[in-house]
């Protein structure tokens, strides 16, 4: 008796050997690894470097030699402790927990991305904190690398997106909250509201995007660990937020440590 082979599409061409000359230049090595040709400086999030060829130095923001120049581009001091600057020449490989990596080119544009998903960016871009907590906005011209759980899917507004599935958005206005409370109407809804019996669909809250632009979605609801982006103080017209966790080892100094890049 002959058994038929298990017919499937081939999975790949097997291992490939790279050296400093054959590694892609500012491109993906595979879906999960990105190669940066470093000549000068590059911002990257802590712990995302997996290997490098060449001579380079990694210094915390606030310490490097080029800091005076670079700090003009890093307009998110509350975030400084999560980022390092790579300086030197060589090839730098980035990866993040086997998530899919993509590079994006901005030309005099702006793109907002979930802070945990942003891996690295060129110093020609300016980094700012988004109005939406947990998101960072990049403005200017340059390249940056972002991670997503599964490939990124681009959608055009109008669309409502689950907050956890949102990677970021480009060009369109900042989103607004959309709450769907229709399931709480009526007698059954009242009982549900009071007792919790029957449960919620888990889809009562979305981010709603309108206008022209692109919305970036990831194919999963598990998100990368959120990086604290600090707290806007209690001011008029600023919604109240939960205070962030104190940075480890800094006691009650809270965000002071972050501000000084500790």
């Amino acid at each position: 008796m002959t058994y038929p082979p298990i017919l499937q599409t081939p999975g790949g061409e097997g291992p490939q050997i790279w050296d400093p000359h054959t590694l892609p230049v500012n491109d993906n090595v595979n879906p999960y690894c990105f190669s940066v040709n470093l000549n000068g400086a590059y911002y990257l999030q802590k712990g995302k470097m997996i290997a490098y060829y060449g001579e380079m130095r990694f210094s915390g923001i606030g310490r490097g030699v080029l800091d005076r120049v670079l700090e003009q581009n890093f307009n998110s001091p509350l975030h400084a402790s999560d980022w390092v600057v790579a300086e030197g020449r060589g090839t730098l490989l980035l990866a993040d927990r086997a998530y899919d990596l993509n590079s994006y080119d901005l030309e005099d544009g702006n793109l907002t991305v979930r802070s945990g998903n942003l891996l690295a960016f060129e110093p020609t871009l300016r980094l700012k904190q988004s109005i939406i907590p947990g998101f960072l906005t990049l403005i200017g011209t340059g390249k940056f690398v972002a991670a997503s759980n599964g490939p990124v899917h681009f959608v055009e507004p109008p669309v409502r997106v689950d907050p956890q599935a949102l990677v970021g958005w480009a060009d369109c206005p900042a989103p607004c909250h959309h709450y769907d409370h229709s399931y709480l109407h009526g007698v059954l809804g009242g009982i549900r509201h009071l007792t919790g019996i029957g449960g919620a669909s888990g889809e009562e809250h979305q981010f709603e995007f309108i206008g022209a632009g692109q919305v970036l979605m990831q194919s999963s609801e598990t998100v990368l660990a959120e990086k604290s982006v600090g707290v806007v103080g209690e001011q008029s017209a600023v919604p109240h937020q939960q205070p962030t966790q104190a940075a480890p080892g800094l006691g009650n100094l809270r965000d002071l440590g972050r501000q000084f890049g500790l």
């Binding site: 008796m1 058994y3 038929p4 298990i6 499937q8 759980n149 599964g150 490939p151 899917h153 959608v155 109008p158 669309v159 409502r160 997106v161 689950d162 599935a165 769907d180 229709s182 399931y183 549900r192 029957g198 449960g199 919620a200 669909s201 888990g202 889809e203 009562e204 979305q206 919305v215 979605m217 194919s219 999963s220 609801e221 598990t222």
Partner: protein
Amino acid sequence: MAFTLINHKMVSAQVFPGRRILSQRGAMLGYTGEVTFRPNLMGGQGGVMSMIGRRVANEDTPLMTVEGHGTVMFGHGGHHVHVIDLAGDTLYVEADRLLAFEDSLQQSTMFMGQQGGLMGVVRGQVTGQGLFTTQLSGKGAVAVMAHGGVVELPISPGLPVHVDPQAYVAHRGQVTNKLSSALGWRDMIGRGSGEAFQLELSGHGMVYVQASEVKL
């Protein structure tokens, strides 16, 4: 076909009056149009008795009804998604693995003992599936989740397939399955091969296997 694969971890589905979709709660990623999500009190179809059956059988994954007019995207937990089109036959799948399915499908709970008697029960225990599994039958599409990609293994009479119980995802068609064990003295002293239990599926149909031994 109700579901369109966007990429290996996301599907989109059109809903309109006349086509509703049942989906696991919290599995919606985004939508366009006017779509509502209602928690499904029964945890599925078939009235109160079915609900009780599912509760008892521990196959009551929280579901929600998606209806309205628009396009909805689904995905969950970063798991791979596999779309299976049913044309009148039956799919046996664990309820946890159901991402979404068309309302036109009949959902019911099956006792493992029905497929293979006592050994079916043992199989359920060994594979971690429990004593019951969910069956979907009729015409429509199902999106199931798997850790790693899904491999489709066709089986026909005389050509059974042996599957690692942890990698088993679902099967369809006229399939009988039995647990074959190769326990020996080596396993007793902790020098086993790690493949002591295998699921043997034979008959006529399709077996879905994931590229991972992680259960959802």
